[in-house]
Each structure stands twice: as C-alpha cells, then as structure tokens.
C-alpha cells in the first residue's frame, strides 16, 4: 500500500462515483449544529480508500434536539453503527456569550451532551463519535483569561478535559481530537470564515478531508483493520549514517550532526511499543554491526529488548518481512514498514502490496511530523496487556527455538508445562475480550465484532449468554488472554457457539481441543443435548474452514451439530488451573 500526503477534496469527491460493491457496509448518522454536506461527502469518499461503503444519514440542519426527541425520527429507523455528534466551537462561543460568562458553562455542556447520548441510546444501540472543541482565542481577557474561571478560554479547555474524562468511562463514546488536528494544520488553514458566514460550514474544503480521514480511521479500527507491527530499517532511518561504514562513534544520534531528529523518532517508536505496537527490524547489514548500536551506543533510545524480531542480513527486504510475518503470525495488512530508501520501499510495495509503506519526505527532519499526520496506529481499544506485547512475541521466539530441539511435537508440548485458566468475562477481561473480537481475523469462526459496551451487555444477559475467557501460560511466560468463547442458549437443549476466537500466538498447542472440552463440559453439566456451531467465511479465516468438521461435528444446512452425549473429552498437554 502506498501512503502519501492527504488527498484533495476533488479526489475524494471523484471516489463517490466509483463502485463500492463488495465493500464492508457501515452506517453513519451525522448530527450537527452546522452544515455538514462536505463532511458527509468527504467521509464517504475517504471510506472508499479503506474499502468501506459508508452510508451516511444527515439530520436536518441544526436539529440535534428535535431529531433526538422525535420517537419516529429517521435516525432511529436508520439504525446507524455510529452517531457522529459534531458541535462546533463557533456555535459554542455564541452560546457562551449569550448565557453570559458562566463558571458552570463547561459542566452544563457535558451534561447536555450526555443527555443527548443517553436519549439516543434509549432507542438504538450504537457507538458515538464526539468531537472536542478547538480553542478560539477571543481576547476578551487577553492572556489574563487563564486567571479567570468564567472566561471562554478557561471554559472551553475545561470542557475538552471533561469530554475525555467522560469517554474514558463510557464504553460506547469515542472522541475525535479536532483540537489536535487543528493544531497540526493551523486554524487559518482549518477554518474558512467566509464559508462559515455564508453557508454555516465550519471547515475549509482542504481541512474537511483531514477531519474525514480521521473519522474513517476510527471507523476502520472497529472493523479489525488496525496496525499491529512497525518494521524498521536502521541506517538513515533510526540513526543518521551507515553503521557498517561510519562505525559506532560516528552514527548520528543524540547530539551528533542531525542526531536529534533520530532521537525524537526513536522516542516516538518507543512510545508506540509501550502502547502495544510490536517492533521489528529489517535491515541490510551484517547482524553484528546492526546490533551494535542497540547494545553499546549510549544515546540509543531503543534497545535489543524492545525489538521482537531482529533481522539483519543481505537478503531482499520483502523476503525478510515474510520471515517476520511468519514468526509473529499476523497479517501483512497489519504491518507498517519504514525505510528512508525509495528503492527498498518500492520493492516491498511491489512484492507485498498489503504492507503499509509510507512515502517519506526527503528531509529526515520532516519524518516525524509526516508520520504523525498519517495517524497510522488508530485503535479502538487499549488494555493493560498491550504494554507487554513485545515481551509476548519475544518469548514466542524462544519457544520456536526450543521446539526445534525436540524430535516429537508431543515431547515439545509436554515440556512446555502449559496451564490454562478459564473464567467467565469480568470487568478486567472485558476490554481484552472486546479487543480480540475486533482484531482477530484468522482463528475466528464467525468474525462478530463486539465493542466493550456490547460485551458488557452480553455478560449482563445471563439467561441468554455464557462466556469463557481463556488464559494460557507455560514455562516461558504467560500468553495472556488468548481465547474467547461466547455461547448462546438457543433453548433448553441447544447451545449455539456465537463466538469462538483464538489468538494465533497459541496455534498448535492443543488449545482448540481444550476449549472444546470446556464447551462440552458446560453443556453436559447444564443438561444441554446439542452444541451448534457456525463457520462464516471471510477473506482471512480460511484456517478454520474445517474446524467443526475436524472435531467431528455433523453438517446440516450450513450449521454444525454435535450430540453432547457422544462427546469424549480428549486430553492434551494443557492443565486446567
């Protein structure tokens, strides 16, 4: 995939005429206090680039309250996947002046917005996308405004903080950081006051594309298309100069030459790693040379421990990236490759079109800003476990190595001392469960995506759903929560497997069998007579096409049956804790 600077509105609009057949359908409702036709066009047009068929319903102009209160509203019949609630700073300022300087203004706005969300939620189950309010310097108090809690400046900043506090608690609400975007592009580029005055349009025609792009990135993260791994070139990407030629003391990092550039890039990459992005190195170098700065250079921010897979040799980069992919067992489309060399970038694009390869600016000084603007690592979840992801993949590499020393697979599995903990979803596991439903593509029987709010709802429906979260650990460490099963009680006899997901990190460990044993044990202990499974084919889950067949389920009209009384548990090498 070729990634370049943002598209122009004209190109986005040209997309509207293209064929959306076969794209994933997403419904978006836009409620706003300004005119949103451009935004709507841009969202659909940008969606095309991500293979999303975004159908947009716009509420009548400036009719948020009426729309929400109307029981028969088109909004509720439309049943959107997302409701965009876009209120503008311009209108906010107007409201603030009209109410007269009020120290409770921000709080009242949050109460109002929560009320709108609650009202809509009482009619339909949906996700909310809110927008924070870019600061407007009104110069009423000048710089003294910071010392006055009834100033607009104070209230708008407070409102933005309160919005974040709110969405951190409300699993169905998400926030678009319009303030950050406007800071990135500049208010004078973001807003065309002529459009606002004449047509009540908030964003300039150029900026609306950036806003739409961010909206689509958020939507895309919900469809399981998030980036999980960052693959890095070394020479002139992580440091200035060529380690093999210049030597350890002459590469530019820290204070040497333009080393500051690379220090800042490394700090950013380290922060991504802490957030849960897996780092890999892919460099044309002798391995000893390539590793030296990571181990010996005092100014390096990244160390060997930070890198899950380190590949330095003289083979083609696309072959090395294929190797990295095979070790990590994640899709090519979840990988980003950064390299200063246009030739290498093009080679990777040619051989691995699914890998995202940003076209970097010529001057390294601009790399970081450029990469930030692309917003490559949008996500719709963050769990504690994410922090340790590199560690998980590193211990996986150790396991792979150990497996080679055993002649039989059984001996190897027995040597791992695997222990699994099985529990119903609880408040601690729900974020990770939701994340697995959102991100797992391969070992996923029905690929039903559930938000945290939806998972919570299922947990509360005890008469209808039974949930199992599986944690697997072995002598190399814990894999964390790697398996999810949601069973639906169809009737007093039948259990339907609504969701069966397993992380590909634990393939070939006998975990599937262990999970099936759990399903059947539950069924038997609760007097269910049959278990019913379904395989819904996607582009990526071919691996589990014959999952039910292989376990002896019997096919009847596209569903798979198992008579519980026939089931004999099969023991593997996993002990239940």
């Amino acid at each position: 995939m070729f990634l370049n600077a943002c598209m122009e509105f004209k190109q986005v609009k040209a997309n509207l005429k293209k064929d959306f057949t076969g794209f994933k359908k997403i419904k978006v409702a836009i409620l706003a206090d300004s005119a949103t036709q451009y935004l709507a066009q841009a969202i659909r047009g940008v969606g095309y680039e991500k293979k999303l068929d975004i159908e947009i319903w716009e509420a009548d102009y400036d009719s948020v309250d009426i729309t929400v209160r109307d029981e028969g509203s088109e909004l509720y019949r439309f049943k959107p996947d997302f409701v965009f609630l876009f209120l503008s700073s311009q209108k906010l300022k107007k409201k603030f002046y009209k109410t007269g300087s009020d120290i409770n203004f921000a709080d009242d706005q949050v109460i109002y917005l929560k009320e709108v969300v609650k009202n809509i939620s009482s009619h339909i189950k949906t996700n909310f996308l809110l927008f924070n309010f870019p600061d407007v310097l009104d110069s009423v108090f000048g710089n003294f405004a910071g010392k006055v809690n009834s100033s607009f400046s104070y209230q708008v900043k407070k409102l933005n903080l309160e919005l974040m506090n709110w969405v951190q608690k409300d699993a169905s609400a998400y926030l678009i950081d319009l303030c950050g975007l406007q800071a990135l592009y500049g208010a004078s580029n973001a807003i065309d006051n002529r459009l606002y005055i004449s047509s009540d349009v908030i964003f300039s025609i150029d900026f609306v594309v950036h806003v739409a792009t961010n909206c689509v990135q958020v939507i895309d993260a919900f469809t399981g298309n998030s980036k999980k791994c960052l693959i890095l070139d070394l020479d002139n990407t992580l440091w200035g100069g060529i380690i093999g030629d210049d030597g350890l003391e002459n590469i530019q990092i820290g204070d040497l030459g333009i080393g500051k550039v690379y220090t800042e890039i490394q700090l950013w990459i380290k922060a991504l790693k802490e957030r849960g992005i897996i780092l890999a190195v892919c460099s044309k170098n002798d391995e000893v040379n390539a590793r030296e700065p990571f181990e010996k250079h005092p100014d390096m921010v990244l160390h060997s421990d930070d890198i899950a897979v380190f590949v330095a040799n003289w083979s083609n980069k696309h072959d090395n990236i294929k190797y990295i992919q095979s070790v990590l067992n994640i899709g090519f489309d979840s990988m980003v490759f950064i390299d200063d060399n246009p030739f290498e970038r093009n080679m990777v694009r040619t051989y691995l079109p699914d890998v995202c390869v940003p076209e970097l600016p010529e001057d390294p000084v601009e790399y970081l800003l450029f990469l930030s603007k692309l917003n490559l690592f949008e996500t719709n979840s963050y769990t504690e476990e994410d922090k340790d992801r590199t560690l998980l993949y590193k211990s996986e590499a150790l396991r792979n190595e150990a497996s080679r020393t055993y002649t039989s697979e059984a001996d190897f599995l027995a040597s791992l001392n695997m222990v699994s903990e099985v529990a119903a979803f609880d408040p601690f596991s729900i974020p990770r469960v939701s994340q697995l439903t959102q991100r797992s593509n391969q070992f996923n029987l029905r690929t039903k995506r559930y938000t945290e709010a939806e998972v919570k709802h299922m947990v509360s429906e005890k008469d209808r759903y039974v949930t199992f979260a599986f944690i697997l650990a072995d002598k190399y460490g814990s894999h964390g929560l790697i398996g999810v099963i949601i069973l639906e009680k169809r009737n007093s006899n039948t259990l339907f497997v609504d969701t069966w997901i397993m992380s590909c990190r634990v393939l070939k460990r006998g975990m599937e069998q262990f999970m099936l044993n759990e399903i059947m044990a539950y069924a038997r202990n609760n007097s269910f007579t049959e278990v019913l499974g379904e395989y819904i084919e996607t582009k990526k889950n071919g691996m589990v096409k014959d999952h039910y067949r292989n376990f002896g389920f019997i096919e009847k009209s596209n569903l798979w049956f198992y008579d519980v009384s026939d089931y004999k548990p099969v023991d593997g090498y996993i002990t239940k804790q």
Partner: protein, 81 residues
C-alpha cells in the same frame, strides 16, 4: 493576463474540479448552465480558482457573481494589482 486568458484558465479549473471535460465557459455562463455547478461545488470552484491565481475573494464577491464574466473581471482586477 486579460479577461479572455483568465476565462480559458477558469475553464480548465472547472473541467478539472467538476470532472466534466465537456464544459465550455463563456462570459455569460451561469451556474444554471452547468449541471454539476451547485452551491456545494461553487465553494470548491472558488477555492481552486483562488489557489490557482493566488488571490482571495471577499465573502460578498463569492455570493455576488452573476455570471462567469463578472468573476473573471474580479480575478483580473486582483491579479493586476
């Protein structure tokens, strides 16, 4: 640049922005003569013209052009300043 040259440049911009190569602008052309030219695309055209000629229209001008000719005259004034 004279009005005729400006008209030719504008014609190119219209074709490009509205993705319709059959557009032929004349001095007396109005929005109702061009199918894709509505209040939404009007803004798009104005912004493209501003960028091309490195000028800026006032809000009143944007709303007030009666036809392409008036717009070209305004462009001519601004570019010759």
């Amino acid at each position: 640049m004279n009005t005729a040259e400006i008209l030719t440049e504008c014609n190119k911009i219209f074709i490009d922005q509205l993705d319709n190569s059959s557009i032929v602008l004349k001095q007396e052309t109005t929005a109702s003569d061009v199918e894709e030219w509505d209040s939404l695309t009007h803004i798009q055209l104005i912004v493209a013209i501003e960028k091309h000629f490195k000028i800026r229209f006032t809000t009143a001008e944007i709303q007030g052009f009666k036809n392409v000719g008036e717009m070209c005259v305004a462009i001519e004034k601004k570019t010759n300043k």
